[in-house]
């Protein structure tokens, strides 16, 4: 874990593997936004980026007790505050 914690907001696609964030919002303009909410990517949810696939995309996430895989273009709809 890094010591200098970056509290700036970014999208889930930008979080580096191994880091963690808290969901702030899901961008409504993405057609997938509603699906993100169904999958539990709701505000206040803690989510960890476990790894990226060997070719860089998709990414593996851990949240709410399960593992989810998303393409980075879709993960871009989730705005997070990095916490670790």
């Amino acid at each position: 874990m890094k010591t200098n914690v970056d509290f700036k907001k970014c999208t889930l696609a930008e979080l580096p593997p191994g880091s963690e964030g808290v969901v702030c919002a899901v961008d409504d303009s993405f057609p997938i936004a509603s699906r993100m909410l169904d999958l539990g990517l709701r505000p206040e949810t803690t989510v960890r980026v476990v790894r990226r696939a060997p070719l860089g995309d998709p990414i593996e996430l851990e949240l709410r007790g399960y593992r989810l895989c998303l393409r980075r273009c879709d993960a871009g709809s989730v705005i997070v505050r990095r916490t670790a």
Binding site: R35, L37, D38, R51, A53, E60, R64
Partner: protein, 655 residues
Amino acid sequence: MSEAAAPGPLRLGLLGNPNSGKTTLFNALTGLRARVGNYPGVTVERREADIDLDGRRAVVIDLPGTYSLEPLSEDEAIVSRVLAGDVAEVPPPDALVVVADACSLERSLAFVGDIVRRGLPTCLVLTMLDELHARGGRLDRERLEAALGIPVIEVIGHRGIGIDRLRALLPAPETWSTPPLPPPAERDERARWADSVLSHVLSTRPGRHRLTDAIDRVVLHPMLGVALFVVVMTCFFQLIFAWASPLMDAIDGGVAVLGEAARAGLPPGLLADFVVDGVIAGVGSVVIFLPQIVLLFALLHLLEDVGYMARAAFVVDRVMGWVGLEGRAFVALLSSYACAVPGIMATRTISDRRDRLLTILVAPLMSCSARLPVYAILIAAFVPPALVLGFVPLRGVVLGLLYLLGIVVAVIAAIVIRKTLVRGPTADFVMELPPYRVPSLRNVGLRVYDRSKDFAWKAGTIIFAMSIVVWALGYFPRSSEVLDRYESKREELAANLEGDELEEARSRLDNEERGALLRASALGRMGRAIEPVVRPLGWDWRIGMAVLAAFPAREVVVSTLGIVYDLGEEGAEQEERLVTRIRNTKWPDGSRIFTVPVALSLMVFFALCCQCGATVATIRRETNSWRWAIFAFTYLTVLAYVAALLTYQVGTALA
């Protein structure tokens, strides 16, 4: 909504997120009694089973796994439509059983709330409790029951624990407790409601699945993961090939033995010919697919239940994304190299309808094993056994190029179809990576059984009908002129020859007669009729006819060419003679029919054309529409024709 006095069986709807253990529970409740079909008008699979619950008849409806009742995909739309009683021929359920994985209840509770608030009698089944406990999680069932106001039952489906209690509860949904206050209807409020319920019932959240973490460090490792992917997929493919072919040979042999037995027991004539060459061969043409279907689905479901299939899709998704497909399409396309039929059936794992359709439409371009005998004959006849660069056999190169042609055309077709017919945003690739689990052989077995039964009845009947039609076209009309001519020739032989010489001459005459009859049949006339169409490809009417006869099953072209060139249809010796005969057939002006450009154009045609009734029937079955089946057939045939035309014309111009 549910009247206890209502006649007819109790309808129980089974709902849950994907991977919640819903199918395991369905199987535990119903065993082998599932009926598989489609919901009217859509491609979504429909599974129901009749069961007896302490004397009360019930129908368990296995609704598709879904994350939400908001209709985003076709699967989800069907779930909410069934609940609303909005699907023709499908009465709405009287009561609902919601299945939720206890480890990911944090995700699914809002979904559970959305179902509960709709007011049907509902109970919640929690699964994977053994896993929850192993991961150190603690969940208070009684508190959950109190908070939701509905019965909550803990079940370990694959070990049958809790099933008896569930069965005792199910017959009387009238008596189930109902929530005093339904969960909020508004989505954000419901999410907050779910989180607050969870804070009361989930005293300890489950930790990470340590074993899964450890395995994934290898399986999803940037280098090792890719290597493992290649190894697993190679073995997967090899096993289907290696294990299926002896079984398929055995079926072929069995069909031949059965045919001989039937012929021996029946008086010679139309009935015997119909039973042996029509019915028995037709049934054989369906059964021959079963070894590959059974093997493919056994391996596929085994890998899926272990948890590897999702990882494989994760590793390869990027590559498939380049042509507008998703990771889960890979296995379906790989399987299509063995046979497009199970390959197309394997697309059921792809959740997005458009992705699935696209995968189905390009799957027949993967060079299946039935094309090999065709390539083998033509390559043996026209490609010299030379070496390229001193060590690479030229014949192997040609074969490799034919496989490559299928891939290249598939990539182009996928891109074009994606931009035209199945347009729309690239589907969201949303997939869970479930923890690694010990697979349940019972579950795998049941699913393989379901798939095979479904193929045999739904696609098999169409395949069977097509092979009967083609048999009839090649059999009728029986030219009495030909029959009389050969009868008198036989008598002539019997008068002049004896012993082995007579036998040999007779069998030669039989083969000639079969050829003459075929040439005089409806199929032969059709071959002549289409000669102007196939002439630009360099083919004569006999090749055209053999290609026509091969539309239900492409490998038939070899035996049809054998018959039309008066060689009979069986055996390796025949194959050698066929190669010679093909080389030597001539046009009326004395020039050879088969030249290298003709052979190439024929091979290119076979590489691309959808000459497989079983594939068309399976596309019809899987898309639930003749429209897509006919489209696939048409576009592939046109593509094959144009490519063969180009091959011949360019080849002739160069030569």
